[in-house]
Amino acid sequence: MIDYEPVLIIITPVIAASIISFLSPFLKTERTKKIQKYIAIIGLSLPFFYLILLYPTVSIKTIQYNMGGWATPYAITLIIDPFNYTFLIISSLITLLAFIFSMKDVKKAKAKFSFFFLLMVAGIYGVFLSVDLFNIYVFFELCVITSYILVTLGDQKGSLKAAFTYLILGSIASLFFLLGIGLLYFNTGALNIFHLSTLVSKLDVTIQLAVFTFLFGAVAVKAALPPFHTWLVDAHSTAPSAVSAVLSGITVKIGLYIFLRVFTMGFQLQGMTEFLLILGVVAALGGVIFALFEWDIKRLLAYSTISQMGYIVVGLATFSAIGVAGGLYHIINHAVFKGLLFLCAGAMIYRTGTKDIRKHNIGTTMPVTLITFIIAAFSIAGVTPFNGSVSKSIIEASLSNHPLVWFFLLLTCIGTITIFSKILYYSFLKTAIHNKIKQPSQEAPFSMQLPMVVLAFFCIILGAFPHIWLDNIILPATSSIIGGYTTIQIKIFEPMTILKDWLLIGFGLLLLKIVISRAQYIDKIRKRIVLPNLNIKVVMMMFALTLILSLFKFLN
């Protein structure tokens, strides 16, 4: 029986995009433009509902489809196994909600926006579904090129420079990815990931080392790990909010997805775990520290994306079942609450027009945005009933033999609490406390509130009932990647963790007090932080890659 499921998931956005592009010359009036929106929504929501229907079959067997009917290791195969099922579900949910949000938010080129959004979604599904290395490269390139175009749709002048830097660094990463594939193909003669996992371990260590450097260089740029993260802040802060929600929620995760797919392929390189732990901690702490200096809300969120990515990399670094389970769970949680935060930021910018949190003074005129923002802030900080705390406690549980890393992660928790209480204070509470008069409620339009409420709802569900999600989705996913089924006991609702959470919040608010009192001093520092231009970013990247290559050559 040929199972067609994966093909239907990838073809739906493609067909919807081509229908939209084919209809666009005939649809000139405003009413008919609505048709394009509804086609796009159908094209996005069908895969989501279809994936939910697919869950029973995925939990039993891996769905596999060989393109064109050729033999397994040589044809391009699309698979849905528990591991990429989690990524597919979360990306279809976030892209659907982000598109609903963008219907009102995007002011320019409305018709073409849905076309590019659909092609980006097709690229995302193409990467998650396919198992052939070169195929992952092609669909990843489709997703990245459409995101360049979507970033230039940002209303600011800066979006052009950001898009250009993003384009150049993105294409260098793709070239590294290609070189990695080329070396692998030259030595093993195979492109299918499962087929390669048997062949790579037989290669001698030096070739594995070179392939690791190339593939890691590409993955590190895409997942915005520290030495290569500079493009992310400009690109995500100048893109339209719906696009930056998808970029921060999904596109950055593609880098980690490829990281997991590729590096569980049997690379025997010593020192990988320590190296990744250091990278994760530097990302987590650096992102938070830089975020403290920012006043632009979207740049703040972009820096906190970098720090949360560091969190996930720390989780994945140990390659132990608990660590990878925590990392996967945090990938889903981060996609949910970061998407929610960017949508809230979009609603705030839509209503006040500026990105500067000092000029927002929304007070309580936007109740829905305020509540959803508080939920998201609590869940990113890792407070008990919300979803951040579950995955953070699992990751901390996996760091039993690295106490120092555990301590640094606590510091990032405090810093994250400070960042988001800073936004809360400047955008909302400052005006609510000072002028008591009741301003009229200028809440964002309904089509913006709906995605925010749904995402906040998911924030609570994912956190309050962790066992449902763990046993049904996360643990089968980890066992399909790492192998070896473990049961994870979560000590969430014990008084100890609740006490720890509120202690951290206390420290966070203390740090906030210092940040507010030193506001002018921070402004002076921020002006002097040298903003590296494009050339220095490429120099940093090549220097980091040389370091990795020589470090690993020395170790092996």
């Binding site: 493609v14 592009s21 393109m67 064109g68 044809a75 391009i76 092609v138 090549m542």
Partner: protein, 90 residues
């Protein structure tokens, strides 16, 4: 050349030199004398099925037609992207 420019040239040249040296010392690449990658052997054996003589276009349009589908989408996205970006102002 200004002092700053001369220094960055030297620095980046040194970085690339070390990268190239270490890379070439690790990986020694030499050509095989007969085709031994199992994927291409599989494609060449099944070439007669696709009624094509040119193996490259057979791979492009038959064995890996899904790649070409993705790549056509990339080309389509770029073309409409170029038209969108450049039309915005006139």
């Amino acid at each position: 050349m200004t002092k700053m420019k001369w220094f960055t040239y030297l620095l980046s040249a040194i970085i690339l030199m070390t990268f190239g040296l270490i890379f070439f010392s690790t990986v020694f690449l030499s050509y095989p004398d007969v085709l031994h990658s199992e994927m291409s052997l599989y494609y060449l054996d099944h070439l007669s099925l696709t009624k094509a003589v040119n193996a490259v276009s057979a791979i492009l349009l038959d064995f890996r037609a899904y790649d070409t589908l993705g790549e056509i989408l990339v080309l389509f996205a770029t073309i409409s992207g170029v038209m969108l970006i450049l039309r915005r102002e006139t």
